[in-house]
Symmetry: C2
Subunit: 354 residues, 2 copies
């Protein structure tokens, strides 16, 4: 047995830098590369929005989990705890919907410091409850433990999908349409408003926050919804996307995931990216390029998917689905065609965990 007592390992600059350089996705790849599949029931492991477990001849169980850490993913200065509980559930359901799965169960694990009251914990669970009701999912487990400082919420979500109806990051084909389910960049601009008001509040707690005219983008940040309706619509219309992913880190990052996993490239058009007028207004106020907010802002929880061209007419006549580009051959590169008709390479500059 190794001697248990040991001094904290010295920080090695080379290794330390590596974590930041790697970013979240490469870090997970790096850490999980040696793991071998041991069970036939493990159909799909790490590397998509959810894992898939073979549970019976016709269905997979889709599984996903997400950590929300105080000070990193949320700020209790301005995030109402009920909204936090709601959002913690919704971001996980969004991952299941992106696999075309129907969520059925969640678990919630909460670590919370003693600065929070029972009322605070109840508020979080009120939000969890509201999300469970709205999305038809059952809370089946989890625990609540103390933490020495700050709060962390871990939600795991499970759902089912027919084997022949799974939508993964791979599967996009050349000439497919690239579509999004709603406007982008709003959650990011909502965050900018909240950060500004937090700074004002800090300087002078008597000043009431100035949030008028920002209702939509604040709601997109604080209480996002997952696109259950779109999954139902696909089913009703008998449409199966060739690939799908949810937009949590930003459009650019997600497009690159689809391209990489499908071994194709993307061509998207700036003028086609749906952006709400409130997002445009806030972007002007904060002097942020609205397309940058849409490409890199993240937390939109819309679905990004590719479709065979045969669905073009159907999609064009459907309100709330936007064709933003098309899939090209893997030799052509991933580009945004700007309003001035220049081609800008797509880069993932979205939020990373490190």
């Amino acid at each position: 047995m190794r001697l248990p007592l040991f001094p904290m390992r010295e920080q090695k600059d080379a290794k330390k830098k590596l974590i930041e350089d790697l970013g979240e996705f490469a870090l997970i790849d790096h850490l999980t590369q040696g793991f071998l599949k041991q069970n036939d029931s493990t159909y799909l492991g790490v590397g998509d929005d959810a894992a898939l477990i073979d549970i019976n001849p016709s269905e997979y169980l889709a599984f996903t989990t997400d950590h929300l850490v105080e000070g990193i993913h949320f700020d209790v200065t301005y995030v109402p705890l009920k909204h936090l509980g709601y959002k913690a559930v919704v971001v996980n359901l969004s991952d299941l919907y992106s696999m075309n799965a129907i969520p059925e169960q969640i678990s919630v694990s909460l670590a919370i410091s003693s600065k929070y009251t029972l009322e605070a914990i109840e508020a979080i669970y009120d939000g969890v409850y509201e999300a469970c009701q709205r999305y038809g999912v059952d809370l089946i487990g989890g625990d609540t433990t103390s933490s020495q400082i700050g709060m962390m919420i871990n939600v795991a979500a499970m759902g089912r999908v027919k084997k022949n109806q799974v939508t993964r990051r791979s599967g996009a084909k050349e000439h497919d349409l690239i579509c999004v389910s709603g406007d982008l960049g709003a959650a990011y601009m909502g965050l900018q408003v909240l950060e500004r008001e937090k700074a004002v509040f800090k300087d002078n707690p008597d000043i009431q926050p100035d949030l008028a005219g920002y209702e939509y983008i604040l709601e997109r940040q604080l209480k996002p919804e997952a696109r259950k309706d779109l999954i139902s619509w696909f089913s009703t219309e008998n449409i199966l996307p060739t690939s799908m992913i949810d937009i949590s880190d930003g459009l650019a990052s997600e497009l690159l995931h689809l391209a990489k996993n499908s071994k194709v490239n993307c061509r998207v058009y700036e003028e086609k990216i749906p952006i709400d007028p409130q997002t445009v207004g806030a972007a002007e106020t904060f002097q942020i390029n609205q397309t940058t907010a849409a490409l890199n802002g993240g937390e939109d929880y819309e679905l990004l998917f590719t479709l065979d061209q045969k669905h073009f007419d159907k999609i064009r006549e459907t309100e709330g689905i936007y064709i933003i580009g098309h899939v090209v051959d893997s030799t052509e590169g991933n580009y945004l065609i700007t309003n001035s008709e220049s081609a800008v390479p797509l880069k993932a500059q979205g939020w990373t965990a490190f």
Copy 2:
């Protein structure tokens, strides 16, 4: 929409006290009581070692999740990070085995502050990898995010169990034998040794820790195993316990869970509780009653189960399974019969999260 910016709610003494009074189990009951089941696939939700999801005509998927929080559940001063990764997996697998399920998949979510190097994260994953190999489970998801302070590991585990082979906390019948799968109290005494050496190390970092003679109890604390072998043995021998639970909070607490959920009472005998000589020695050194360590120490990860009396001969001749008492009618109370033949009421004084 509610005004998002709001001052932290005032601590109300009455409510604050309630969290501590409630304890972990009552808190979860309190928070989840209003949640209604919405999906037929949800066979068993909160309230046992794992939840059960109906996945096909003959099997359930068992699901469990557990949070380990730095400073609350572990101390990196003396816990090697590889052991930490290993233990984080094992404690979840133990919950699945207690349902008589075979674990197949896990996810690992890590929140870690920048004081840790890539090497440290790799060490944790080395431990996760070793547990995956040993127990035949696949890592299918999770993420690694930063935290402003400290570390938290959340593991979720899934496995399968035949519908007619499930062992729950309920099901124990009057006259059943009460059995445990191994010795108790060792992990708790191992923790005492580590805490003592930490205090010595703090006063004088040049003094080498004195761990000789404590190898077994240290291993029980730092690198516990889950009882996969026992589940296989039940299967081979065609034995189905009437109820089962894993010993994470201490024998007394788990006995009371079985009794409450099975609507029976327990009679256990001090002289029958298996305690390792190293545990006895450490208990003497630290002036802790050895039976108290076994009853309330926790973290043993042995299985506590009840069996029909017809298995008496089989169990008696099987090494490593200990009959510690029997089930009595629910009017008779839960008692420990001491070596001096007095009856002491069983109380859950084990570790609670608050």
